[in-house]
């Protein structure tokens, strides 16, 4: 097993200390920070996404795997500043919409997007449309990811899109939505650019939207 494969395994198994130690060892051995994402972290989280889809992994396993990925990427990010910076896949402003406090689904999506190389600006829960508009402007984000878990709050996704339009930012960002009551049809009806039915689908969608 190569060291990259070992690191992949540590992430998939959710072993944060091992992931951190391996990353440090590999850096000392001269592996360039820029190699970790394409060769270990991204493929590991893609595998986690696959297992989640196939019901093999559930929320706890995905969260601990994401934590293990973060243990590695936290070491790497400061080293990636400057000439060796990898091309960021994009900047995503994400949050759970106003009136809604559900956090877990949004956190999983945020962590998986982060592991896929996106820069994440997580605004948390009960987020107003204004806050999202401000964050998009400040961070020059190219993606907005909105979550809602209640039928009574998903209407607020529409308000966010309207606020982005009013602020003249609608053509600068792609908007993706998700959460238990959200459907593809709903996403279309409010003028979102896409719907992610689960976290792996959200990552795939973000890649497509960022590339478009």
């Amino acid at each position: 097993m190569t060291q990259f494969e070992e690191l992949q395994q540590a992430i998939i198994d959710g072993k944060a200390p091992a992931s951190k130690a391996l990353t440090e060892t590999m850096l000392k051995a001269g592996i360039r920070p820029g190699e970790f994402f394409p060769k270990a972290i991204i493929p590991a989280m893609d595998e986690v996404g696959r297992r989640m889809r196939e019901c093999e992994f559930f929320i706890p396993e995905v969260l601990i795997a994401a934590r293990a990925a973060r243990a590695s990427s936290d070491i790497l990010r400061p080293l990636l500043v400057g000439d060796e910076a990898i091309r960021s896949a994009g900047t995503v402003v994400c949050g759970t919409v106003k009136g809604d406090l559900h956090d877990i689904g949004k956190n999983i999506v945020a962590m998986m997007l982060e592991s896929a190389g996106f820069k994440i600006v997580d605004l948390g829960v009960d987020v107003t449309a204004e806050k999202i508009v401000d964050a998009v402007r400040q961070n020059q984000a190219n993606l907005v990811a909105l979550s809602a878990l209640l039928t009574t709050t998903m209407v607020n996704m529409k308000s966010v899109i309207e606020a982005l339009t009013a602020a003249g930012l609608r053509d600068k960002v792609k908007i993706m939505v998700g959460g238990a009551p959200v459907t593809d049809a709903w996403a279309h009806s409010i003028g979102a650019d896409g719907y992610g039915k689960d976290a792996p689908a959200a990552v795939e969608l973000a890649r497509q939207l960022a590339a478009a």
Binding site: F58, L150, T151, T152
Partner: protein, 531 residues
């Protein structure tokens, strides 16, 4: 074998008459009539005892253990242990006297007139007509909440209600339905309408607001707090009910958030607010409600458990009705399923789901992570009923939410779990869930002897409120003052606790019988090994 004869059974004091094939379990017959089986019909309590006035009902070991020789000689039986073998006339202890959850009689001032207690559930309505001079139940009627066609859970009801004139429609609908159930009670008991002087209704905050015609918009969004939680009083005439127009109708106050007067009633029924020691009450439903405390302080919370306990979003899930697998027991390394109504299995209800997963863990078919061992996609329990991987995931969400809620309230109270003297399980599901299985899956992490099925505490509390009108107008100011509502979702550590509680406890290799009344101690708190 000769043709199977049928027998007639008359229930007193309500004078209901039923006919069923010989051999039918009394439990199945009586369950359909609203009789409760506190231990889940396992012969472990005395809650379902009946007095056989005419006819024969056999005695078995379980009954000899729970009933004295004198009681047996006088015709007392445990309904859950009897099958129909003769024409019977029986009297139900549950309906006969005013008794509390622990079977102690409750004190009341006998007075003239009749009263009606209503448990207005999101799914089910239960009504009882009572003689206020004796405490006797004169008639019982249950129905599915007619609002259910506008959404099964409270949030979809709220969503419908916040839309234009939606709440007006839901209000009208439920008032009319309860009014018609009361008419049925009156008809069944053959009493004059005019003698009903008091009606007490309890329900969660959404039911309270919809019945009372209050604005439910505050319940549609964070922080999910309404300002109008108090007692609401009406005259029957205002509601269009065919009673004396002066008859008093009271909807008891709510406690905070979604925790309503059904839980206030549960506190009354279990005496939580009057005791020095620490006790708890859990109502397992789509919205799991939890209260813990003593006479000085009570904490309550609700947690969205999802519909798994009611058999919804389960691939072959169904309500606890004929054809549902309601119990799964491990015997000789294999499983044995009990089907309600003694017909071929058609689906799996909440108690069967909990049992099935407990059995799967026991047999090593399910890992503590919730994954089927060896990556199987489904497990056939009894053809054609199967348990799928995603069913287990639904249960993990439901049980994680409840277990995390209990843990958070105990933390907030500042008491170790071992300080809890009793945990009462309320509601229909609490009646039927096997406590050993609930412990095995980590839903209720307390030894079985600390866990008591308390039956319909909402209805019992509503009855108490009917009988204790003197000096208590129904506002229950002291209890409301003692009670703090904890908004779990707003607490960041709740999310972590919830995720932790999604795993099943790792019980190691210890083998114990499911449903055999054995009470295993969790022998380890190790995190679940990952497959």
């Amino acid at each position: 074998m000769p043709d199977q004869p049928t027998h007639r059974i008359v229930l007193r004091p309500v004078q209901t008459e039923l006919t069923a094939p010989a051999g039918t379990a009394l439990r199945d017959l009586l369950f359909a009539q609203g009789v409760e089986f506190p231990c889940g019909g396992q012969g472990r309590c005395r809650g379902c005892r009946v007095h056989v006035l005419e006819g024969q009902a056999s005695v078995n070991d379980a009954q000899r253990e729970r009933l004295s020789a004198e009681e047996l000689a006088n015709g007392w039986r445990l309904a859950c242990q009897c099958a129909l073998e003769d024409d019977l006339v029986i009297e139900l202890r549950q309906w006969d006297a005013a008794i509390l959850v622990d079977e102690t009689p409750f004190a009341f001032e006998p007075r003239a007139g009749l009263g009606v207690a209503v448990d207005l559930g999101t799914t089910t309505l239960v009504t009882q007509l009572l003689d206020l001079s004796t405490g006797r139940v004169l008639a019982v009627r249950t129905a599915l909440n007619s609002q259910a066609r506008f959404g099964a859970d409270v949030m979809s009801r709220v969503q419908y209600g916040v839309a234009e004139s939606g709440s007006h429609q839901l209000c009208h609908m439920i008032r009319q339905q309860i009014g018609s159930l009361i008419e049925q009670l009156v008809f069944a008991a053959q009493v004059p309408h005019g003698e009903i002087t008091d009606v007490v209704v309890v329900g969660n905050t959404v039911m309270h607001h919809l019945f009372c015609g209050l604005d439910i918009e505050p319940l549609s969004r964070y922080p999910f707090e309404s300002e109008r939680l108090g007692l609401q009083a009406f005259h029957a005439g205002d509601l269009g009910w065919k009673l004396s127009s002066e008859a008093r109708v009271r909807f008891l106050p709510c406690l905070g958030g979604f925790v309503g007067s059904d839980i206030l009633a549960g506190i009354l029924a279990t005496n939580l607010s009057e005791r020095d020691d620490l006790n708890g009450l859990v109502d397992l439903g789509t919205n799991g409600e939890i209260v813990i405390g003593n006479r000085q302080r009570l904490l309550c919370a609700s947690t969205a458990a999802g519909p798994a306990f009611e058999g919804a979003r389960i691939s072959m899930g169904m309500r606890a009705a004929t054809g549902a697998i309601s119990e799964v027991a491990v015997e000789d390394h294999t499983i044995n399923c009990r089907v309600l109504g003694n017909v071929p299995p058609q689906g799996l209800c909440g108690s069967g789901l909990v049992d099935a997963v407990a059995a799967g863990l026991e047999l090593g078919r399910i890992q503590p992570s919730g994954r089927f061992t060896g990556g199987a996609g489904a497990w056939e329990l009894a053809a054609p009923v199967v348990l799928t991987q995603s069913d287990i995931r639904e249960l993990q969400l439901a049980k994680g939410a409840i277990a995390a809620g209990i843990r958070m309230l105990l933390d907030r109270f500042g008491a170790p779990a071992s300080n809890l003297k009793k945990l009462y399980l309320a509601g229909a599901f609490g009646n039927y869930i096997n406590r050993a299985s609930a412990q095995r899956i980590g839903l209720i992490s307390f030894p079985s002897e600390k866990v008591d099925a308390a039956g319909n505490t909402a209805l019992l509390g509503a009855k108490l409120a009917l009988f204790r009108p003197e000096g208590e107008d129904g506002s229950y100011a002291r209890i409301r003052h003692l009670t703090e509502h904890v908004a779990l979702n707003a607490d960041q550590s709740f999310q972590d606790t919830f995720v932790e509680e999604m795993a099943f406890p790792n019980m190691g290799a210890r083998v114990w019988g499911l449903g055999a009344g054995e009470t295993p101690e969790p022998n380890t708190q190790n995190p679940a090994p990952r497959t």
